[in-house]
Amino acid sequence: MFHRESGYFKTSYQADMALYPLPIAKYTIWAFLAIFFVACPMLLDEYHLSIINLVAIAVVGVLGLNILVGYTGQISIGHAAFMSVGAYTAANLATKLDLPFWLTVPLGGLMAAFIGILVGIPSLRIKGLYLAIATLAAQFIIEWIINHTPSISGGVAASIEMPRPVFFGMELANQAELYYFLMFIMVIAIIGALNLVRSRIGRSFIAVRDQEIAAEIIGINVFKTKLIAFAVSSFYAGVCGVMYTYYLGIANYENFQLITSIDYLAMVIIGGLGSILGSIFGAAFITMLPIVIRLWMEAFGSIFVDDAALAQVIAQFRLIIFGGLIIVFLVVEPDGLAKLWQNIRNYFRTWPFSY
């Protein structure tokens, strides 16, 4: 990530597919793990840890959406609906059957993957903009079904209280304890995604994205590939939903509405389409953006507007800045933060002897 690779040329396919191109990449990863697993919990207070928790949850969701949109080229505006499927599945399993987290997390993901395959089936025939709106329909339909089926949604206000995850008899009750739990799932999700996109399946995703007919001609089963992409993406979304439910302590459909789907699409776009590192950047950026805007507005906003109106103005400003950033990124840097990072690295690659 940080190393300079001047003079390093890949000479075999194995080198091209390696997770760590150079030994130093491995050391960087270990350093990051040390920072996030040892230093952060020791140095930061509970509020800041809860923000990192939110980022970790978002990273899992964005990875899923990026696999579908960035790698396979299928547009989905219904990502939040899959999260709600995972969330409600896990909440029901945890409250009715008393299942522990190491079962509810994968089962929530699997249920979401199953629904994702159902939604993905039309993608063989429906393409492009029509598919985008078909997934929008899925968002509304899933939301409506959950909301109107008391046995899924738990009746009153469509919310289920979620028991805290229990780890070897220790209840993970506060943010600092949840931190390890959520970070651990995030690390597994990142490793899974990294390995997926360099495997045969991941390469066929990219082939389908770049030229569907050409991919079919070289022997890729396009329909199967698309369904796998939908399933993997929804699995990630479902796990993300379960994580969020454990984080909040409650499963509620209001956290998984259309605006959440749009948030995640924005994370993919701003982070960088078809980039794992970009997914992490995008998730961190968009998760922290509203927090930073709120802090700034609370610090400087009272100069321009009186305090009574401030809350509303903050909400409106947030929409404007959020929407404006999406547009600016798309027009100025379509490959997102990942590409910006790449540019910085390329500049320093031969620094200080550029010529």
Binding site: V69, G73, I75, I77, P122, R125, I126, K127, G128, L129, Y130, A132, I133, A134, L136, A137, F140, I141, W144, N147, H148, Q211, E212, I213, A214, I217, L258, I262, L265, A266, I269, L273, Q312, V313, A315, Q316, F317, R318, L319, I320, F322, G323, G324, L325, I326, I327, L330, V331, P334
Partner: protein, 296 residues
């Protein structure tokens, strides 16, 4: 009594459907000529209505002057939009264009209330409130006026596309950008024209819907209601928009009248999407949409 209920629901549903068609035609215009789908069309309608209502209530403009300001605003805004946001996006992946218009939608949702205040504003275009009673039928006057405006506008539109020189040129641009350039058509000018027309349609929609449901950010939700209409008819067909609008209006009204009592409400927002998915399964490009032929 039962038949009368059905009849009343159907008539009102069809009227609402015509009003949906008025907004939906904005999507079709943009898609036909520039191959972009505008997720902010609902927000265009909202911002046009907010500008007109804001000018009329906040600054005491007479209605005609407020509408004129709204018209100028929509034209200038859409021209700038086409030039600085959408033109750099030509040739990008579809998801990029979708996200750009979604970003635009968010900006408009924040900016409208920031400038003109967040409260719901009345918009009175001189249509009486008392229900219109023809025999056994109850109708809301604004629905009738809205449907009439919609039909009149779509007729003018049909004439424009079929007969006028500019309309024919626009159809040519929609058909093939390259051929149009070769034939000496200034494609970029027609892109701009398409966006201007979409802005004018949004203003009309904003006037009609604003006086029907009041002007606030809730109006933006109309954009979501109109998606099934556009997809049902096919993204690039004006006839499809009218028929799609009528079908969706009818289905919505019937679902609200007959299904809602059994499942506890909300079917109105949901049945159009189910219907849309069913149609897409059999006709992937809507009822009248032009299939896209893929080549390597």
């Amino acid at each position: 009594m039962e038949w009368q209920f059905l009849f009343e629901l159907s008539v009102n549903g069809l009227l609402t459907g015509m009003m949906y068609a008025l907004i939906a035609v904005g999507f079709v215009l943009i898609y036909k000529s520039t191959d972009a789908i505008n997720f902010a069309q609902g927000e265009f309608v909202m911002i046009a209505a907010i500008v007109v209502a804001g000018m009329a209530t906040n600054y005491g403009f007479p209605l005609i002057a407020a509408i004129a300001v709204g018209l100028v605003f929509m034209i200038v805004f859409n021209l700038a939009l086409e030039r600085f946001v959408l033109r750099p996006m030509i040739g990008r992946p579809i998801v990029a264009i979708i996200m750009a218009t979604i970003g635009l939608a968010l900006v408009l949702q924040g900016a409208g209330p920031l400038v003109f205040g967040a409260g719901t504003k009345p918009l009175d275009i001189g249509v009486p409130d008392e229900p219109l009673i023809i025999g056994p039928l109850f109708m809301t006057p604004i629905d009738v006026v809205g449907a009439a405006i919609s039909i009149a506008f779509l007729a003018v539109f049909g004439w424009f596309f079929m007969k006028s020189r500019k309309g024919v040129a626009m159809r040519a641009v929609a058909d093939s950008h390259m051929t149009s350039i070769a034939m000496g058509i200034n494609v970029e000018r027609y892109f701009a024209l398409a966006w201007i027309l979409a802005g004018v349609v949004a203003l009309l929609g904003g006037l009609v819907w604003g006086s029907a449901i009041g002007v606030d950010t809730q109006m933006a939700a109309l954009g979501l209601k109109v998606f099934p209409v556009v997809i049902l008819g096919g993204l690039d067909s004006i006839i499809g928009v009218v028929i799609g609008g009528l079908i969706i209006g009818l289905v919505e009204a019937l679902a609200a009248g007959y299904v809602d009592p059994f499942v506890g409400g909300g079917t109105k927002d949901f049945t159009p999407y189910v219907l849309m998915i069913l149609v897409l399964m059999f006709r992937p490009y809507g009822m009248f949409g032009k299939p896209i032929i893929e080549r390597i």
